[in-house]
Subunit: 342 residues, 2 copies
DNA sequence: CTGTTAGCGCTTTCAC
DNA sequence: GTGAAAGCGCTAACAG
């Protein structure tokens, strides 16, 4: 382990003071452009890399953003993270990512770790069973910006980034009604979470507008796992009248349902039409293709990171409670198209 | 932003020297157990949190591990990361995760960022088109431990963690042969990558052992995307004789193939049997269920992180080139079982 | 067992 | 435009 080059080494070599080197390297206006060039190239030549810790220690900030998400294994989340990573890289921030695995307990632990790591800001999409924001209070009290995306928690001092889940739920349901469905089952997640509560609201609104009854027996709250899909189909078969439409707020679970329904002898969409949510690639590998709602993951990640960084740079008022709503659209694909490319 | 409590504050309050506080807090053996307790509880009471930067600056290490992976959006990768996170948390390390998105260029940029962030060690699964390890030389030269997992690069100074891909490829193929398949198509990824090269070798070995011809027309190298699945099926239909077995080294792509084959009127597994790879949940949502090879993601993540940390703690020789091979098994599921639970 | 002391490498007033 | 100097908070010799 050879020792590192410091600004002192550069200073000595160039007969400048360390202060000048520091300023030049951080592009301070009070340094002559030509000396900046000289210093930069010498730094390069000597293989200098700045010591973030010394800098952090001195400046009392870490240039690090924490991210807490329920899980990484969805197309949406990995796109969102790619978006954040892009913005973070461009602006000189590092990302620390951790999964809550849908558990508040883990989420609390993650929050503490992030706090102890002194992240400059935190991006969060909460777990299924998170109740309240007490575990984020340390951030709020210290004025560390906290921003929620996708699964958000309402709070006066935090920005939230979401899609219009009510509208999306409405459109998904309206699509099924348009296909002739009159009894539409809705399989969704924990209603504590805005995403599921809002979609349910959209579902109900669509039914009402068409004069269809809102039947609580047709609303099933689950964890949206594959097992939940199995359970959902079992429930459906237990009803006196089978539904002829199914709106599941997660593609993976929706696809599981489709598969089981087909096995049980129903044909899709004739006997029962299905709509999913998230535009996950899995929606395209089943027959027929699953109609789903597009989720702008990358965009959401970029905007979340950018907003947080704007906060950090004082370009945005931390106190302002604003909710940013991204556009998302219903996607209807037709399997038959798949093989018809040139 | 209230000012932070430091060990000096605790020292003053308790009439100890800062050194004692520091030692007590890091559980130094030369401090009386009872004073440790006193100090710990006072630290707690005063809301002290240690300043990592000062500590890092002083100790010349970051307690941070970098992770570079191709993509996050697979069940395997998210499990592997959960495993790493667990080990890292338990041992007081932080994780910085970044995606190369299957591009060497991005991988290089990520490596540089990690280097500049002075990670103590690096865990890498390389991109599709990575060629050589030059972009990791800075790590090797500085003696920063570098460990590859899953998609590994052979190198004298690095440990690698893999499954026995040859064996897995062999078993997948043998299974198909046992089902009566004689013409088995193999759809795989870039053969630069050990995982694909090894599985191919297993495939060929199985064929040879059964006296079946190894036909290059039946081997298709792709990027294993869904489009690749479309292309693969097209290729198959172009052959004079349709294969009656298909071994795809990625569940998602395999499932796409199944779907298209069914659309084209083939029945599975009667006309053509399919085996995938990774044990991704997607293998269970199609009919019939896809036979696949289990991938011990979480385990691989834990072992990778643990080995790296052992290196860091000097418990393991950095120079020793060892390859750790994890067990993985062929998984055969039967859809019919799904609904037969109690 | 505990205290003293000297930095780790950088930024930033305050001078000139 | 550039320099001098004082720490940021912590750890690790070295003493005692």
């Amino acid at each position: 382990m050879k020792k590192e080059v410091t600004i002192y080494d550069i200073a000595k070599r160039l007969n400048y003071s360390p202060a000048t080197i520091s300023r030049a390297l951080s592009d301070h206006p009070a340094i002559r452009p030509d000396t900046k060039v000289i210093i930069a190239s010498m730094a390069q030549e000597m293989g200098y890399r700045s010591n973030t810790f010394a800098s952090n220690l001195r400046r009392q900030r870490t240039n690090t953003i924490g991210v807490i998400v329920p899980r990484l294994n969805s197309n949406f989340m990995s796109s969102a993270l790619a978006g954040m990573e892009k913005v973070a890289n461009e602006t000189g921030y590092n990302l620390i990512i951790s999964q809550s695995l849908e558990s508040v307990t883990k989420e609390k632990a993650n929050a503490k770790t992030m706090y102890d790591s002194r992240v400059d800001g935190l991006l969060v999409s909460v777990a299924y069973d998170t109740d309240g924001i007490d575990h984020f209070n340390s951030f709020i009290n210290k004025g560390i910006p906290l921003l929620f995306f996708d699964r958000v928690l309402p709070h006066d001092h935090c920005t939230s980034i979401v899609i219009d889940n009510v509208k999306a739920g409405y459109e998904a349901t309206a699509h099924l009604i348009q296909q002739g469905c009159r009894r539409i089952m809705h399989v969704t997640g924990n209603l504590k979470r805005n995403v599921y509560a809002d979609r349910l609201q959209g579902y109900q609104q669509a039914l009402r507008e068409q004069g269809l009854p809102v039947n609580d027996d047709l609303i099933l709250v689950t964890d949206l796992s594959q097992e939940a899909g199995v359970e959902a189909v079992r429930q459906m078969q237990r009803l006196k009248t089978m539904p002829n439409g199914l709106f599941v707020t997660n593609d993976f679970c929706a696809v599981t349902c489709m598969s089981l329904l087909k096995q049980a002898g129903f044909s899709i969409p004739q006997d029962i039409a299905v709509v999913g949510f998230n535009d996950d690639p899995v929606s395209q590998v089943v027959t027929p293709d699953l109609t789903t709602v597009h989720y702008p993951g990358r965009e959401m990640g970029e905007i979340a990171a950018q907003s947080l960084i704007n906060h950090l740079n004082g370009l945005m008022d931390i106190q302002s409670t604003n909710t940013i709503i991204l556009r998302s659209d219903l996607i209807i694909r037709h399997s038959s198209q798949k093989l018809v490319e040139p």
